[in-house]
């Protein structure tokens, strides 16, 4: 049963630790990641997670030296504290470099990242020989090792994740204000530096929680990807936080599920080679895939959706321009001698500067809507088409009057703007313009404005 399979990670005692633990960690990281994305400081998490590494090694070695290397809980706690202290030191150095030494922010981040990580590597290289057992368990923090997490880990990380969420809830208004309008916050007398410090402490806490799941090197993905996903769907901060948290937790769950499922498949397919899929990178790939999907397909902001909307809009403009063009020519015909071949496909194509395919589609659409009819000389407007075309012309010329007479723009410059606005103005705006301009009869080029007709 597929559905029952989805719930086994929560019930199976071996899988429970990694799955729930990862979900909690990614949830906490996603919440903090929302703020770091909105503050445009998305990469500071990257620098701080690398800066945490020497602390992780040093505290693990200290724990081993004191004889605690077998006690998982104490080790995890020690690593959390050591990593946190080291990350905070890295943060302090970054701020010192940026403020006192005038180093640009990206160079400061990269420098501290590299130096601290280098310290960590140096310590680890010695620990490899002096404390080999602890070295093995600490290497788990480089790329994450969710698979060996137990219920005590769930407890520890659950408490930490709850603390992160509680602090965000407690300081929600202040964090929101300082993120979106720092100047206003300062005028209100809010202690902005203190709130910044709270944010950075939250960041360090979430990093320290998260490095067991995805590791030091990949941590910044869990700060950025869920926040990016949420941003595409949400317009206010509360829903963004909720969606980011959900997306992070989901990535944690699916990453774990995929890594165990694929490892099983590989074990049965190639049993002699003992292949396995690592969990941390799997979680990151899931989160990044979610982010990519939301970047492309989110209803309002998705890039592909916007592209499709733009194409459809251009298509609509083409249809309306065709109607307009034919209306103008038919009106001229009434006063001038009869022109043949004016409404054929070839002439229309040369006038409207589009591909033959789009013109063909547009004409098909207009005939289908009942605004154009096919005749031996080409295409002509139906009664309904005449009304629609007249409305577009009316809106165009009203806008020209608005720009020229009301706003004082020169008559020679209003045409281009009106060409764009005629497709956009709604009937309500048309009514307002009529009222405002006192129902004018002529536009700045002395052409008649078609009267208002009820469609």
């Amino acid at each position: 049963m597929m559905v029952a399979e989805l719930f086994t990670p929560f019930l199976d005692p071996v899988l429970r630790g990694p799955t729930i633990g990862c979900m909690l960690m990614c949830f906490a990281a996603a919440l903090v990641g929302v703020f770091s994305l909105l503050r445009r400081q998305a990469l500071i998490g990257e620098a701080l997670s690398h800066a945490a590494y020497p602390g992780v090694i040093a505290s693990a070695v200290a724990a081993a030296w004191l004889g605690f290397e077998a006690d998982e809980t104490v080790l995890a706690l020690a690593i959390a504290l050591g990593g946190g202290a080291s990350a905070l030191m890295g943060l302090w150095c970054i701020q010192l470099l940026e403020r006192k030494l005038a180093v640009s922010s990206d160079a400061a981040l990269c420098f501290i990242l590299a130096i601290f990580f280098g310290f960590g590597i140096t310590l680890a290289s010695n620990a490899q020989f002096s404390y080999p057992l602890i070295y093995r368990s600490v290497q788990a923090y480089l790329y994450g090792q969710a698979a060996t997490m137990t219920d005590s880990h769930i407890m520890l990380y659950g408490i930490l994740a709850f603390v992160v969420a509680a602090v965000i809830a407690l300081f929600f208004k202040e964090l929101q204000l300082v993120t979106f309008d720092r100047a206003f916050a300062m005028t209100l007398g809010l202690p902005c530096r203190t709130i910044d410090t709270i944010f950075f402490l939250l960041l360090v806490a979430s990093i320290v929680i998260g490095i067991r799941a995805v590791g030091v090197v990949l941590m910044s993905a869990m700060l950025i990807a869920p926040a990016v996903t949420a941003r595409q769907f949400c317009k206010n901060l509360r829903s963004m936080l909720l969606l980011a948290g959900a997306s992070g937790a989901f990535s944690g769950y699916l990453g774990n599920y995929l890594s165990s499922a694929i490892s099983e498949i590989l074990a049965t397919a190639y049993p002699s080679q003992r292949l396995s899929m690592p969990t941390g990178p799997a979680i990151v790939v899931v989160a990044a895939a979610l982010a990519l999907f939301s970047l492309l397909f989110a209803p309002e902001r998705g890039a592909l959706i916007r592209l499709i909307r733009a194409i459809l809009f251009r298509y609509r403009c083409l249809c309306e321009n065709i109607l307009k063009g034919i209306w103008k020519k038919e009106n001229k015909k009434e006063t001038l001698p009869h022109y043949t071949d004016e409404f054929s496909f070839k002439v229309l194509k040369s006038e409207h500067l589009c591909s033959a395919f789009s013109l063909y589609l547009a004409l098909l659409q207009l005939v289908y809507n009942g605004w154009l009819q096919r005749a031996p000389g080409g295409f002509h407007l139906t009664a309904g088409g005449k009304i629609k075309a007249a409305r577009i012309i009316r809106v165009h010329r009203l806008w020209e009057v608005y720009l020229a007479d009301y706003l004082g723009v020169g008559a020679e410059r209003v045409h281009l703007s009106a060409e764009e606005m005629e497709h956009v103005l709604t009937p309500e705006l048309e009514k307002e313009l009529t009222l405002l301009l006192d129902n004018p009869h002529h536009d700045p080029h002395h052409q008649l404005i078609p009267p208002h007709t009820i469609l």
Binding site: R40, L101, S125, Q128, A303
Partner: protein, 329 residues
């Protein structure tokens, strides 16, 4: 010279200053024509490769730091893993034989992988920023972590060695061969030629991109060229120092040099000198710690520690210089 490792390393047991004495003695032997019996010790191979890496990276780092492209270089140093894995796949296929930790790839494949990865990373990041309208920092972060995660998955699946990822990050200076040295010095020569030829273009696109465009010089072209050079150097340095230490060598020497001078040509020279100095001191220090205290440390890690110490000294120096400056306000 042959690239064998001596059974008896002439440097074993040497402390810091003895290291330089032995080095000088062997150099003298080499210069005065007794080179038939001389084979390179592992320490000397390390020196050759690490000094080459440091020189390469310090020079490129100057332009990266000034153009604020260091985060892109950081991204590149991560995605290069994916490039190497894909190159490995492309050349050797899904072989089921047991693999060692060292992936033997020929140089052209490696450099091609570097080129493609560099262009891919830069292109994807720019695409996300301009077409998908994502913030620049978020798009950099998203692109390189996703590609790096893919790389780690592929590497773990292919080599069935969970520690390959560690080596990719830490490097393994003790397993260096002379061929690595040849590659890195070739890359350094390439860098010197390119930067020497295009120095004016690099300078103007760094300091005044608008003027460069007005003059008909494309800043984008030189950004891409710089990234190609960086990718080459990262791949060359991969086995020696691992990907993350390359970042220290890219950012550290320019920042140190920046504290000491403010014109671009001295900046380049001082940066290269600082890089080479740290590499030499790092190798000597590694030997010293092994001989004197019996502690084994990673050479690349020690180079980074020396860089950090030098940076602190430079900061102290400039701070003191400010303090004792004559009051000319």
């Amino acid at each position: 010279m042959q690239c064998l490792l001596l059974q008896i390393n002439p440097y074993s047991g040497a402390t810091f200053f003895q290291f330089f004495l032995v080095l000088a003695a062997r150099l003298w032997q080499c210069i005065s024509g007794q080179s038939e019996n001389l084979v390179l010790a592992s320490d000397e191979i390390q020196l050759i490769v690490l000094v080459g890496v440091a020189l390469c990276c310090s020079l490129l780092g100057v332009f990266l730091v000034l153009r604020r492209m260091t985060m892109l270089a950081n991204a590149l140093s991560h995605t290069i893993l994916l490039g190497i894995v894909l190159a490995f796949l492309a050349t050797q296929g899904m072989s089921t034989a047991d693999h060692t930790t060292y992936i033997p790839l020929n140089i052209t494949t490696l450099l091609l992988a570097a080129l493609l990865t560099g262009v891919l990373t830069t292109f994807l990041t720019q695409f996300l920023v301009s077409s998908i309208r994502l913030q620049e920092d978020a798009s950099t972060g998203l692109v390189f972590t996703a590609l790096f995660a893919l790389g780690i998955i592929l590497v773990t699946l292919l080599t069935r060695n969970a520690h390959i990822g560690t080596e990719a990050v830490m490097g393994n200076a003790d397993a260096l061969q002379l061929s690595d040295g040849k590659l890195i010095w070739l890359l350094f020569a390439f860098n010197i030629v390119v930067i020497g030829l295009f120095f004016k273009e690099y300078t103007i696109t760094t300091f005044d991109p608008a003027l460069a465009v007005a003059l008909g010089i494309s800043p984008t072209l030189f950004s891409y060229l710089l990234m190609v050079q960086v990718s080459g150097s990262v791949i060359g340095a991969f086995r020696a120092v691992g990907v993350l230490m390359v970042l220290a060598l890219l950012t550290g020497p320019p920042l140190i040099a920046r504290q000491l001078c403010c014109r671009i040509k001295p900046l380049c020279w001082i940066s290269m000198a600082v890089g080479a100095f740290c590499a030499v001191v790092g190798v000597a220090l590694a030997r010293h710690l092994l001989s004197a205290a019996g502690l084994a440390f990673s050479t690349a890690g020690l180079i980074v520690c020396v860089l950090a110490a030098l940076f602190l000294l430079t900061v102290l120096y400039s701070f003191l210089r400010l303090q004792y400056q004559p009051q000319s306000e």
